[in-house]
Subunit: 247 residues, 2 copies
């Protein structure tokens, strides 16, 4: 059977398709790109995602996200894949000069992907044990605290003297933009609450850039250096309690 027919049937049956092909690629949409002839890996997934990889590098050189519409065209021996995203007028065209390999099948994968050790975990450790993580007793006021146009404060506490304490958490190096992110929240709360509320702000991260430290000082904000390992230890302790206590 002609290759192009096999390809059509595979797509029709919503199989995952993998091609190794000498091809050229054109993209036009939010930006434009062109890639002349070379051998690449083309993945067409069951959900319409199309991903093209060169034989090197982590990132795909061209792609279209799930939901794209793939059509095939035979232009005098050259197979043309047109991948369309109608909503936003994006188009990728793959011109296949030579097909080195073809594979297609339906893949069975229902498993759940679990990930931990991200910023959310660090935040939880701080909420569960403020004293252990930040060195002082703090009472939780709220987290993912909505501040309207200013965004969301990671955590808001009240300290032993009744001050509001706004906390912004970074999982890795906190830079100057993190400082200004925090300052935005403080300004907003100060403005909303009037001058009678006393506010502190703490940037929490395992590391800080030099300019972040300078900006923190200039803006009168505090910071705490925390270790991710320490956070992990605290989470483990707290979470290993009977569910009666944790939930």
């Amino acid at each position: 059977m002609a290759m192009i027919e096999k390809l059509r049937q595979a797509l029709y049956r919503k199989e995952t398709v993998i091609l190794i092909a000498k091809c050229s690629i054109f993209y036009e949409g939010r930006a434009s790109s062109k890639l002349s002839e070379g051998e690449r890996i083309i993945i067409i997934k069951e959900d319409g995602a199309v991903i093209v990889h060169r034989p090197f590098g982590y990132e795909p050189v061209n792609y279209q996200p799930p939901g794209s519409i793939v059509t095939i065209e035979d232009d005098r021996g050259i197979i043309k894949l047109n991948i369309l995203r109608p909503r936003i007028h994006e188009k990728m065209v793959i011109e296949i000069k030579e097909l080195k390999h073809f594979y297609s099948s339906r893949l069975e994968d229902q498993a759940e992907f679990q990930m931990w050790g991200d910023e959310e975990d660090l935040k939880q450790a701080i909420i569960l044990d403020p004293a252990g993580m930040l060195g002082e007793e703090l009472q939780l006021v709220g987290s993912e605290f909505s501040l309207g146009s200013a965004g969301y404060a990671d955590i808001v506490f009240r300290d032993i003297n009744g001050n509001l304490v706004v906390v912004e958490v970074k999982k890795k190096t906190a830079d100057v933009s993190a400082v200004y992110q925090l300052k935005r929240y403080v300004d907003k709360i100060r403005k909303e609450g009037g001058s009678n509320v006393s506010i502190r702000a703490i940037l929490v991260a395992p590391r800080f850039t030099q300019s972040a430290l300078v900006a923190l000082k200039r803006e009168g904000l505090e910071y705490r250096e925390v270790s991710l390992q320490h956070a992990r230890k605290i989470l483990k302790q707290k979470r290993s309690l009977p569910s009666f206590f944790t939930s």
Copy 2:
């Protein structure tokens, strides 16, 4: 020949390898993840990049970047791929329960990837024709203007009245953080230059969030809405001049 030998030889010859396999995946490094059994696409590139795709979605579910070290282990019928990044102690383990498909070969791809229509192009259009893009005559002072701890200003102009004009360009919707990015630059220049320099600041983008507009007004900064198409037209005109004029 045993599959594991074929795999070893392919890796030894630095071929690109593609596996379709029922497998489980474990990752431990900056974060940790676990993915139980399912059918996936595994790409091992010639430069040591390893990328695992599920049959849906744009992003790989697990990966290691180029330069990773891949070793193979036969654990009583289960092929174990250990992918290591020694420098930062990152490890991914793929346990292959069943190999549905194997492909390997050396891929030839020397082509250069060309992209345009990104932020850099928008910036160039503004530099080449400030009047056409921003509606006023401006004289270029510098671009990627280093401001020490405050970062880099996209473009700095001088206007007809001798004011410095700091320009921050966004290719898509400019949000409140873009406003503060620009404000950082202004504050820095003002501080360095003393109170005698008069500074204007313009945020340039095709779209602005509501809160960005509010923040701009509050901070006394200007903005210009520009069309990417217009920028493209200007670039085309200016660049089609003889190279004698453009270079």
